[in-house]
């Protein structure tokens, strides 16, 4: 009993700080989500609006488009980073020449702040200044103008995110791979199992805890991507890369529509939690099934 009390006392400061920095802002946003509050309206005072903000969201084409773009972006970057990250991790587990150098260089993007990544990519892609449009024109006769062609902008944003965050996936999968037990793998090889069979039935189940953690981290990061994209495309051309974080920013800051922006934030948080939960259920269910 005394141990329990002491334990609570010891973690109380942490809990207090977490409550202040995590729960209080959340409760504030929750309350604002039910208000009609735009400080530049004819009546700038906050007024209770019930669920009006949430009802508006269902019919808001810009919000729905932004959500769809975010999910599409998340799907592309997550799948690409897992596949590329896995192969890079496998490669770096072997004794290949210049492995140490490659691992260091490969990890460098992780150390760069997202805003700087966005700025760097912008410099590389601005027509008339950046090298990428120049090379695309010279080598492939492709007019590469992010601010004019939505597909190019979306693809570039995806590639930038893959470049930035795949090293994280590589590192975590390397940690997982290096902890794989040798015995089941050797037994499978002795029994004549092929590489694909070994991967699917042995490597993947053993990697699931690491994979799950990695996917959760990257999923949540991808869903809240703002700074890189804001620097590179500003959400354009049009609204073709205006992911949900950027969209909420535009509603809350330039438009000062605090109530509606808070409602968007809450719905986005809810959807993120639901997606993570579904993923967790799917993966742990698969694990149970594989047993």
């Amino acid at each position: 009993m005394r141990n329990t009390t002491t334990g609570w006392l010891l973690i109380a400061p942490t809990l207090f700080i977490l409550f202040i920095t995590g729960m209080v802002p959340f409760l504030y946003v929750l309350a604002v989500g039910f208000l009609d509050w735009n400080t530049f309206a004819a009546n700038p005072e906050p007024r209770f609006a019930g669920v009006d903000n949430f009802r508006r969201l269902v019919f808001d084409a810009a919000f729905l488009k932004s959500l769809w773009l975010t999910f599409k972006f998340t799907l592309f970057v997550l799948a690409s980073q897992l596949i590329i990250g896995f192969f890079l991790a496998k490669m770096l587990m072997r004794n290949v020449p210049l492995k140490g150098l490659f691992r260091t260089v490969h990890t460098l993007p992780l150390m760069i702040a997202p805003i700087a990544v966005g700025a760097t990519w912008r410099l590389m892609t601005v027509p008339g200044l950046g090298p990428i449009p120049h090379w695309m024109q010279q080598w492939f006769d492709i007019s590469y103008v992010l601010s004019r062609f939505p597909d190019q902008a979306f693809a570039t944003v995806v590639i930038m995110d893959i470049w930035h965050w795949t090293p994280l996936v590589t590192l975590t999968l390397m940690a997982g791979l290096s902890n794989l037990p040798e015995e089941p793998l050797e037994q499978a090889r002795i029994d004549g199992a092929g590489e694909w069979r070994i991967f699917w039935d042995i490597t993947l189940p053993f990697l699931k805890p690491v994979l799950l953690t990695t996917i959760f981290i990257r999923l949540m990061d991808a869903l809240r991507t703002v700074d890189e994209v804001w620097m590179l495309t500003g959400g354009g051309p049009g609204a073709e890369t205006r992911f949900i974080g950027l969209h909420i920013w535009r509603v809350v800051f330039p438009k000062t529509d605090y109530g509606y922006g808070a409602a968007m934030s809450l719905i986005t948080l809810y959807l993120t939690i639901v997606m993570c939960w579904l993923l967790y259920v799917a993966m742990t269910g698969m694990k149970e099934k594989s047993r």
């Binding site: 008339g128 205006r242 800051f253």
Partner: protein, 471 residues
């Protein structure tokens, strides 16, 4: 004895004269150790404030100035959040002419006229409201009091490459192709022809026909269309009738009128002759494009006119810049002269003091310091901005004026034909509602007609949502 009296009197005069002449050190005596903080957009005039005027003020008064120059949208974010929260981070903020109505509606700003009257000891002898051009009227409240001291004002002008337009070979080739003389455009068709001609000279050169401020995800595109292009087609105040809360033609607005649609089609059509960076260009990039010699003509903010025309370290077109009024539809000039319309954008801003400032007295001194006649000419040369009437006649300004093909003369004599943003308290909110449709038109995912029909509906919905107008 008389000698002693004379000597005493002389000493007394000598002691008192510097006290009056050195108003700034006297006024700053009680404010030693104070640091005032401000925020503005990173522009040539603001950079001059940061690099030159702020250190001069500190030297004169002992008051430190921390002046943050940042991007346009960050500047507004920071200033508005500070004033809304009342946190008092900033002692002076940049007030663009178009946002003043929103700030006044929210009572964010200190009444400078009242503050000066209440503090006679802080009234600088060289500072006078009467020295300013009529641009200061943008910063008056309903009773005529001043809420901001203008720090920059300029017009958005038509810049063209004189060397190209006056080249006999081009003149001959142009006439052979289009059947009339090559000249700065006075009609939209002529602008288009000029643009097409120069864009198609040589597919491998780095010269295009026109700039277009068409950043496809930035409000700069909205501003060029609604404040520079639409007015020359006779569509004023964004096509919005604020009293009715109307933007659509059906309700009495003009945002989706045939003239507005024609204007948008013309402007978007120019992208075919613009450099590839046009769809990523805000006001800064447009100036850079022109200064790099990548466009034969364009609408360029006047704050950039001086350095584009005179600074060889930054510009490749020094001595080659022509300045003209923009083309416009018949009748627009007459409406502008009658005060019923305007032919383009008269932009600028002031520094104001938020109510939340913790150093109002020091900020009041600072605002007067930047409003003195003695600092205006060099500032005008550095930043192509004029806020005092007398600055136009300063020899330094006249020298730059000659190199900039009469930009300052145009501003002085024809500035009244231009106008700032409409007096909307919902400026940013309606802009954010409308701008996405302009972006869609730029990218081509909507026709100009579709874009403006939807933009007008969105503007009305936003005004209704905010509680403005007759909806």
């Amino acid at each position: 004895m008389p000698k002693l009296l004379l000597a005493t009197s002389a000493i007394a005069v000598a002691l008192s004269a510097p006290a009056y002449a050195d108003f700034w050190s006297d006024a700053g005596a009680n404010l030693q150790g104070v640091t005032i903080r401000g925020v503005s957009e990173s522009t040539p005039p603001s950079n001059y404030v940061r690099d030159v005027l702020a250190p001069q003020f500190t030297e004169a008064t002992g008051i430190e100035v921390e002046f943050e120059t940042t991007s346009w949208d960050q500047m507004f974010d920071k200033a508005i959040k500070d004033m809304e929260a009342g946190s008092g981070i900033y002692d002076f903020v940049y007030i663009e002419q178009d946002i003043i109505y929103s700030y006044l509606a929210r009572d964010f700003l200190v009444n400078i006229s009242d503050a000066l009257e209440a503090n006679p000891s802080l009234q600088a002898p060289d500072f006078s409201i009467e020295d300013f051009t009529t641009f200061i009227d943008n910063f008056r409240g309903a009773d005529g009091d001043i809420f901001g001291v203008p720090m920059e004002a300029f017009i958005k002008v038509y810049l063209y490459r004189k060397d190209l337009f006056e080249d006999p070979a081009h003149q001959e080739a142009f006439k052979a192709k289009y059947g009339y003389d090559l000249a700065p455009a006075t009609t939209f068709d002529q602008w288009r022809d000029n643009a097409e001609y120069f864009a198609n000279l040589d597919p491998n050169d780095e010269l295009w026909g026109t700039t277009v401020q068409a950043a496809s995800g930035h409000p700069a595109a909205f501003y060029e269309f609604f404040e520079s292009i639409a007015p020359t087609y006779g569509v004023y105040d964004w096509g919005i009738d604020m009293a009715k809360g109307a933007a659509t033609v059906e309700k009495g607005g003009r945002m989706n009128s045939p003239e507005a649609k024609e204007a948008l089609a013309f402007w978007v059509g120019l992208l075919d002759f613009a450099p590839p960076e046009a769809t990523a260009s805000t006001w800064d990039e447009v100036a850079s494009t022109f200064a790099a010699g990548r466009a034969a003509q364009g609408w360029v903010y006047g704050e950039n006119a001086a350095w584009v025309a005179t600074n060889p370290e930054k510009s490749t077109v020094v001595g080659k810049v022509g300045v003209a009024l923009p083309p416009m539809n018949p009748g627009v000039m007459e409406e502008a002269e009658a005060g019923e319309g305007y032919i383009g954008y008269y932009d600028g801003g002031a520094f104001g003091i938020p109510h939340s400032s913790k150093n109002k007295e020091a900020a009041l001194l600072w605002l007067q310091f930047i409003g003195q006649p003695s600092v205006q000419a060099d500032w005008a040369v550095a930043g192509s901005r004029v806020v005092h009437q007398a600055t136009f006649d300063d020899p330094k300004v006249k020298e730059v004026d000659a190199m900039a093909d009469g930009y300052f003369t145009m501003m002085k004599e024809q500035g009244h034909l231009f106008k700032g943003a409409p007096e909307f308290p919902f400026h940013a909110q309606v802009r954010e509602a409308v701008a996405p449709f302009i972006y869609e038109a730029i990218v081509g995912t909507m026709t100009p007609e579709e874009a403006l029909d939807q933009a007008a509906a969105a503007a009305e919905a936003e005004m209704a949502n905010l509680g403005y107008g007759g909806n």
